[in-house]
C-alpha cells in the first residue's frame, strides 16, 4: 500500500505531497527533509529502493525533481517504480512537455490526476486516456 507520494526538488523544496495515511502536519516537514536527504545520498549504481524506518521508499529522478513514494512492506517495489514513470508520462501528455513550473502553478490539476490514479493508497488506473478524461471535461466546462 502507498503511504505517501512526494515530489521534491534537489534543493529540498516540496512541490507536491499527498499522504494516504494521516501524518501530523508538523511531522511532515521533518519526514520530507529526511526522505530527500536519503535519496540524494544514493548514486545511480545503487538500486532505487531504500529502507526507511518500517517502510520502503521508491524514487526516480527527473532532472532536478525527485518523485518519492513511501510504501509498506507488502507493496511491489517494481510496480511502484513503473507507476512513477506512468504518472510522469500522464503529466507530460497533459502539460505537453511538463516542467517543474507546470507542477508548481497547477498544483490542483496535478492532484486531480494523482487522485485518478491512486485511491486509498492503491493504484486504480494506469490508462492515460482514462486518467485524463475527467480533467479534460472539467477544463472544457470552465472554458465555455
Amino acid at each position: 500500500m502507498i503511504k505517501f507520494f512526494l515530489m521534491v526538488n534537489k534543493q529540498g523544496q516540496t512541490r507536491l505531497s499527498k499522504y494516504y495515511e494521516h501524518v501530523d502536519i508538523n511531522r511532515r516537514t521533518l519526514l520530507e527533509t529526511e526522505v530527500i536527504k536519503s535519496c540524494l545520498s544514493r548514486s545511480s549504481e545503487q538500486c532505487s529502493f531504500i529502507e526507511y524506518k518500517d517502510f520502503k521508499l521508491i524514487y526516480r529522478q527527473y532532472a532536478a525533481l525527485f518523485i518519492v513514494v513511501g510504501v509498506n512492506d507488502t507493496e511491489n517495489e517494481m510496480a511502484i517504480y513503473e507507476f512513477i514513470h506512468n504518472f510522469v508520462e500522464v503529466l507530460d501528455e497533459y502539460f505537453s512537455r511538463v516542467s517543474e513550473l507546470d507542477i508548481m502553478f497547477n498544483l490542483d490539476k496535478v492532484h486531480i490526476i494523482l487522485d485518478e490514479m491512486v485511491l486509498n493508497g492503491c493504484i486504480v488506473e494506469t490508462n492515460r486516456a482514462r486518467i485524463l478524461a475527467p480533467l479534460l471535461i472539467l477544463d472544457k466546462m470552465s472554458e465555455s
Binding site: 545503487q46 524506518k53 517504480y81
Partner: protein, 1032 residues
C-alpha cells in the same frame, strides 16, 4: 438453481400460514416484496420533505415493532432489512435494526444470510462495537462446506473487519488460499502471465514478481513452480541492480519452501553480501536469516553483526538485534559463542532493543535446560565474561546490559572458585558510584549486592553501600538499601529469603497479606473506605465510561504468535525492579518456541573438499561421496555451479569457503531425515519440561491443600462392571418407547451438562420437527428412519447406563459399504472414555473385527478390555472402549485409529478414522466449599481477567452461570449478590477457579489456576459460550 429451490422451500410455511393456494415462487414472493415496492412508490409520490419524514417515521415505527416481535420469521426479517436499508439510504436513523441484521446473518439460510451481511456492511462501520457479535458467525461461515456461505463471509471480512479482528479469521482465510480448488482456477492465468511476460520492460518484471509470489503461496503445482524458479533465477542473475534486489526479495520469500533455489544461487548471494549498496546487503541478510540452521549460524550471525556495527539507523538496529538474539538462542553451537553473541547484542542493541530480549535471555539462564552440567557451565561462563567486561577501563555499557550483568552476577557468582563474593560486590559498588548509571540500573545493582551479601561474610563494601544509599533521594533505591540494611542484621532470615540458585523456585508469599488484617480492621473501624483492588477500580471506571473492551480474542491471538516472544502477562507480587525472579509461574506460557522451528535442511554442504568452517568438528556434516545416481537434480545443479566456478583465484577461494560455511546444512537430504530418524541437530538450549514438584515446605503445604480439596470431592466411583451391566440392559430399552424428552429436562438442574445435550446429535430435534409441524415433509426413506430409531435407541441405552456420566451424541467417524464406525465420548469423572462401535450395515455377523488407536503423545490411552460383550459379539455391533487421560495440556488434538474387519469369505479390510478432542473434554466440575475456594484462590498464581458484554447483565448472572455450568462443566460454588464463584478441574487434578462479577454493562470474569495455560483457555471458551448464547 438450488437458490430457487431454497427460496421456494422457505416460502412454503408462509404460504401455508396464509392458507392461500400455492402459486409457485413468484406468488410466494409477492406479499413481501410489494411492501418495499409500496414504500418506494409512497416516497416517490410525495411532494415535500416534511411528508417524507412523516411517512418514513411511520414506516420505521412499524418496522421496529415487526423486527422485535418474536413471531417474525427470518423471511420477513430479510424483507424488513431491505426496507431499513432504504430508510437509512434516505438519511433516517434505523439503528434499532442493527442487531437484527447481525442476527439475520447468523441464523438465516443463504439468501437471508446474504441480506443480513449486506445490511451489516451498510449499517456498521469498522469500529462499531456490534461487530464483535459477528465474529463467530463469520468464522463459522468461513468453515462452511457451502461455497456460497464462504464467499459471503469473505466479502464481509474484506468490507468491514477492523484490524483487531483480523487474527480471528486470518488462519481460515489463508487456508482457503492454499486450497487446491481455489488454486486450480489460478493456474492458467499464472501460466499465461509467466509465458507472455517475455517483454523486456520494468513493468513486466513487476508483474512477474507478483506471479512468482503467488505461485509459491497457493497450492503448489510443480510445473508452475519450475517456471517461477527459473524466473527468480533470471532476476537474481540480472546485472540490473533493481532486478537483483527483486530477485533477492523473491528468494527470501520462497527459500523456506524451496531450499534448493538458495543452493543454486549461492555464489550470487555471496557476492550480494559484500555488495557496495547497503540495501542489497540488508536484503541478503534477510535471506540468510531464513536459511539459518545450527551449522551455519556462526557465520550468518557474524555477517549480521558486521552489518550491525556499520548501521546507525535505530529501526535497523532493533530489527537485526532481535533476529540475532533469536538465532543465537535457537542454534547456539556452544556456551562461549552464545554468551559472546549475546554480549554483542546487548552492547549494540543497548537500550533500543525489544525488552523481551534481555528477559528471555535471563529466563534461559535461570530455568536452565536438560543438561545440568552444560547449564552450570553456561552460567559460570556468563559470570566470568561479565566480570572481565566490567574490569575494562573507560568502557560504557548500555543500561540494559548492566542490568543483565547485575542480575547474573547476583545469582550465579557463587559458581566462581577464584573470586569471593566480596570481590564481586566491590565491582558492583564501583558501578554504583559511577555517574553514568541510571537509577533503575542502580536498583538492579543493589538487588545483586543484597543477594551476594547473603553469601558473603562481613563486608566493608556493603557497609559503604548502605551508608551511601540510605540517604539517597531516590525512594526506590533508598527502600532497597534499607531492606539490605535490616536483612543484614538477621542473617538467618536473609539466607532463607535469598537462597542460592533458587531463582526459579516458587516463593510462597502470603498474598492475602493476612498479617495486616488487624491493621485493616482498625482502619475500617475508624471509618476508612474499604480497599478495592486495582482491577475492580479499573472496571468501575470502565463501566462508567462505557468503553468497549477489545480484548476478547486473547487466546486465538496469542496462539498465532509468530515470533514466540510474548511478554509476561501474569501478576507480579513484588516490584520487578528488584530483579528477583518475578517471572516464576510464567514459564510454560512464555517459553521460547524452540521446537516449532521448521527444519527443511539436510546435512550436505556446498564444497565437499573443504572442511566446514561452521560449528565444531563433531557437528560438521559427513562429507558427501561422489554424486550418486539417487541424488536429485537440484543437487546436481549445485554441483554444476560449483564446477563452473572451479577456476579459483584467491578471492574466489575465499568466497567458496564462505559459501561452504553458509550453505552447510542445506540440501536435498532433508527428505531422508524426514522419513528416517528425526532431525538430530537438536537445539542446544532445549528447555526443561518444567512441571517441578514444589520443594519448599510452604509450597508443599499449598500442594496439600489442593490435593485435599480434590480428595474431598464427592467422587462417584463408577465401576466398570456397573457400566457393563448397564450396557447389557440397554438392549432391553430398545423395545421401550422413547420417553426421553421430559426426563431430560428434569435432570438438568444438578448435572453439569444437561442430558438434552447428550443426544444433541442423535436427531431428536428432527423427530420433534415431524411432530410439531402440521404439514407433510418428505418422509425419510425407511432405512434412514430405521437407523434413526437405532441411533436413538442406543443413545438412550447409553443415557441410562451411565446414570451420572455425561456422554456425547453418536457421531459416525468412518464407514464403507459394509460397516460403519461411530463414536461417543463419555465424560467420566476420572477420565474421558471413548466408545467406538463398529456396526455391520447388512446386519450380518462381524468376524474378527478389531479396532486400534494410534499412539498420541498428549494422551495416556488404555483399552478397557472385556468390554466387548458376548451379546454384542453375536450381533451386528461391536463396541470398543478406551479411557483417555491427558498427559500434556493442549487445546485441540486429533486422535486417530483404524478398524480391521473381515467379512465371511473376503479378505480383511482396514478403515481409518479420527476424532477431535478438545481440552474441554477433560474439564470436570470441582465441587468445593466457598471456604476452600477462598484458600485455593490465594494459592494460585496464574490469572486472566476478561470482560464480556452482555445485555441486561443484572438479570443475566444466574443464566450465565447456568450456561457455564452446562456448557463448560464448571461447578457453581456460590452466588452472592452480583458475584458468582465457579470451580473446575482439568483431569487428572489441576484446578481452576472463576470469579464472575456483574457490572453495569457486562460480566467481569477472573480466572485463576495452578496451570498457566488453563485460565487463557477457559476464558476463551467462556467467551465463546457467552457470545453465541441466547439473549443477544
Amino acid at each position: 438453481m438450488s437458490d430457487i429451490v431454497e427460496r421456494t422451500l422457505t416460502a412454503l410455511p408462509g404460504l401455508f400460514l396464509q392458507s392461500q393456494p400455492g402459486g409457485g415462487p413468484a406468488a410466494a414472493k409477492t406479499p413481501f416484496s410489494s411492501r418495499l415496492g409500496g414504500l418506494v412508490r409512497g416516497v416517490t409520490a410525495l411532494s415535500s420533505k416534511h411528508e417524507e419524514e412523516k411517512l418514513i417515521q411511520q414506516e420505521l415505527s412499524s418496522l421496529k415493532a415487526t423486527v422485535s416481535a418474536p413471531t417474525t420469521t427470518l423471511k420477513m426479517m430479510k424483507e424488513c432489512m431491505v426496507r431499513l436499508m432504504y430508510c437509512e439510504m434516505l438519511g433516517y436513523d434505523a439503528s434499532f435494526g442493527y442487531i437484527h441484521a447481525i442476527k439475520l446473518a447468523q441464523q438465516g439460510n443463504l439468501l437471508e444470510k446474504r441480506v443480513g451481511y449486506l445490511a451489516v456492511s451498510l449499517f456498521l462501520h469498522e469500529s462499531h462495537e456490534l461487530l464483535l457479535l459477528l465474529v463467530n458467525t463469520v468464522v463459522k461461515d468461513l468453515q462452511s462446506t457451502n461455497l456460497v456461505e464462504v464467499c459471503m463471509a469473505l466479502t464481509i471480512v474484506s468490507q468491514i473487519f477492523p484490524r483487531e479482528m483480523i487474527p480471528a479469521v486470518l488462519p481460515l482465510i489463508e487456508d482457503k488460499l492454499q486450497h487446491s480448488k481455489t488454486s486450480e482456477l489460478m493456474y492458467d492465468v499464472l501460466d499465461e502471465s509467466l509465458r507472455r511476460a517475455e517483454l523486456n520492460h520494468n513493468v513486466t518484471y513487476a508483474i512477474l514478481f507478483e506471479c512468482v509470489h503467488t505461485v509459491y503461496s497457493i497450492y503448489p503445482k510443480s510445473e508452475l513452480l519450475e517456471k517461477a524458479a527459473k524466473c527468480i533465477g533470471k532476476f537474481v542473475l540480472s546485472p540490473k541492480i533493481n532486478l537483483k534486489y527483486l530477485g533477492l526479495k523473491a528468494l527470501t520469500c520462497v527459500v523456506q519452501q524451496d531450499p534448493s533455489l538458495a543452493l543454486q544461487h549461492q555464489m550470487t548471494i555471496i557476492e550480494c553480501l559484500d555488495h557496495p549498496d547497503p540495501i542489497i546487503k540488508r536484503e541478503t541478510l534477510e535471506l540468510l536469516y531464513r536459511i539459518t540452521n545450527s551449522q551455519n549460524v556462526t557465520v550468518i550471525v557474524q555477517k549480521m553483526l558486521e552489518y550491525l556495527h556499520q548501521s546507525k539507523e535505530e529501526y535497523i538496529i532493533v530489527n537485526l538485534v532481535g533476529k540475532i538474539a533469536e538465532l543465537a538462542e535457537k542454534y547456539a553451537p556452544d556456551n562461549v559463542w552464545f554468551i559472546q553473541t549475546m554480549n554483542a547484542v546487548f552492547s549494540v542493541g543497548g537500550d533500543v532493543m525489544h525488552p523481551d530480549i534481555p528477559s528471555n535471555f535471563l529466563r534461559l539462564l535461570a530455568e536452565g535446560f536438560d543438561d545440568e552440567m552444560e547449564e552450570q557451565q553456561l552460567r559460570l561462563y556468563a559470570v566470568q565474561s561479565y566480570l572481565s567486561l566490567l574490569d575494562m577501563e573507560n568502557v560504557f555499557y548500555p543500561q540494559k546490559f548492566l542490568q543483565v550483568m547485575s542480575w547474573v552476577l547476583g545469582e550465579y557468582s557463587y559458581l566462581l572458585d577464584t573470586e569471593k563474593p566480596e570481590d564481586v560486590i566491590k565491582r558492583l559498588y564501583k558501578l554504583l558510584m559511577s555517574d553514568s548509571i541510571s537509577s533503575e540500573t542502580k536498583a538492579w545493582l543493589i538487588a545483586a549486592v543484597t543477594k551476594l551479601t547473603a553469601q558473603a561474610q562481613a563486608s566493608d563494601t556493603v557497609e559503604r553501600v548502605i551508608q551511601e544509599f540510605t540517604v539517597s533521594l531516590d525512594t526506590c533505591i533508598r527502600q532497597h538499601t534499607f531492606e539490605l540494611k535490616h536483612l543484614r542484621e538477621n542473617v538467618e532470615v536473609m539466607k532463607s529469603l535469598l537462597p542460592v540458585n533458587k531463582s526459579c523456585e516458587d516463593m510462597v508469599v502470603d498474598a492475602s497479606l493476612s498479617f495486616l488484617d488487624g491493621y485493616v480492621a482498625e482502619g475500617l473501624s475508624q471509618g476508612a473506605a474499604p480497599y478495592k483492588p486495582h482491577h475492580q477500580r479499573q472496571e468501575e471506571k470502565l463501566s462508567q465510561e462505557k468503553v468497549l473492551n477489545f480484548e476478547p480474542y486473547g487466546l486465538s491471538f496469542s496462539s498465532s504468535g509468530f515470533t514466540g516472544r510474548q511478554s509476561p502477562a501474569g501478576i507480579s507480587l513484588g516490584s520487578d525492579i528488584s530483579g528477583n525472579s518475578a517471572e516464576a509461574g510464567l514459564k510454560e506460557t512464555n517459553s521460547l518456541k524452540l521446537e516449532g522451528v521448521k527444519k527443511l535442511w539436510g546435512k550436505e554442504g556446498y564444497l565437499p573438499q573443504k572442511e566446514s568452517a561452521a560449528g565444531d568438528g563433531a557437528e560438521a556434516p559427513p562429507l558427501p561421496p561422489e554424486v550418486s545416481p539417487s541424488e536429485n537434480i537440484d543437487q546436481a545443479a549445485a554441483k554444476r555451479t560449483q564446477a563452473q566456478v572451479l577456476a579459483p583465484s584467491k578471492e574466489e577461494k575465499e568466497k567458496q569457503l564462505l559459501a561452504s560455511s553458509l550453505f552447510v546444512g542445506l540440501g536435498s537430504e532433508s527428505t531422508v531425515s524426514l522419513l528416517g530418524k528425526p532431525d538430530v541437530i537438536s537445539h542446544k538450549f532445549r528447555r526443561k519440561s518444567k512441571v517441578k514438584a514444589a520443594k519448599s515446605g510452604e509450597a508443599a503445604s499449598t500442594h496439600n491443600l489442593t490435593c485435599s480439596s480434590l480428595n474431598s470431592l464427592s467422587h462417584v466411583a463408577y465401576e466398570e462392571n456397573d457400566y457393563l451391566t448397564a450396557l447389557q440392559d440397554g438392549e432391553d430399552t430398545e423395545s421401550k418407547d422413547l420417553p426421553l424428552g421430559p426426563e431430560l429436562s428434569d435432570s438438568e438442574s444438578l448435572s453439569e451438562l444437561p442430558l438434552a445435550e447428550k443426544v444433541s446429535d442423535c436427531s431428536l430435534s428432527a423427530l420433534s420437527l415431524f411432530a410439531d409441524s402440521d404439514m407433510e415433509i418428505f418422509q425419510p426413506p425407511s432405512s434412514a428412519a430405521a437407523s434413526l430409531t437405532r441411533d436413538i435407541a442406543s443413545a438412550s441405552c447409553f443415557l441410562e447406563e451411565t446414570a451420572g456420566d455425561m456422554c456425547s451424541g453418536r457421531m459416525e467417524v468412518c464407514s464403507d459399504e459394509t460397516v460403519s464406525v461411530s463414536s461417543y465420548k463419555l465424560w467420566k469423572d476420572d477420565c474421558l472414555l471413548m466408545v467406538w462401535s463398529v456396526t455391520s450395515k447388512s446386519g450380518s455377523q462381524l468376524k474378527g473385527a478389531d479396532l486400534d488407536i494410534f499412539p498420541a503423545q498428549n494422551f495416556k490411552i488404555s483399552e478397557q478390555r472385556g468390554c466387548c460383550l458376548p451379546v454384542m459379539e453375536a450381533g451386528s455391533t461391536k463396541n470398543f472402549q478406551y479411557s483417555l487421560q491427558m498427559e500434556k495440556p493442549f487445546t485441540e488434538e486429533n486422535l486417530s485409529g483404524f478398524v480391521n474387519y473381515q467379512m465371511v469369505d473376503t479378505h480383511s479390510v482396514q478403515l481409518e478414522f479420527s476424532v477431535n478432542l478438545s481440552l474441554l473434554d477433560f474439564i470436570r466440575p470441582l465441587k468445593i466449599s466457598t471456604e476452600d475456594f477462598g484458600k485455593l484462590w490465594l494459592s494460585f498464581a496464574n490469572d486472566v481477567k476478561q470482560n464480556i458484554k452482555i445485555s441486561e447483565p443484572q438479570a443475566a448472572l444466574p443464566s450465565a452461570l447456568k450456561m457455564l455450568q452446562q456448557k463448560l462443566r464448571l461447578h457453581v460454588v456460590d452466588i452472592q449478590g452480583n458475584e458468582g464463584l465457579l470451580a473446575c478441574r482439568l483431569l487428572p487434578s489441576t484446578s481452576s477457579l472463576l470469579h464472575c462479577r456483574v457490572h453495569a454493562d457486562g460480566l467481569a470474569l477472573w480466572f485463576r489456576s495452578s496451570c498457566p495455560a488453563l485460565p487463557d483457555y477457559l476464558s476463551y471458551q467462556c467467551q465463546k459460550v457467552m457470545m453465541v448464547g441466547p439473549g443477544i
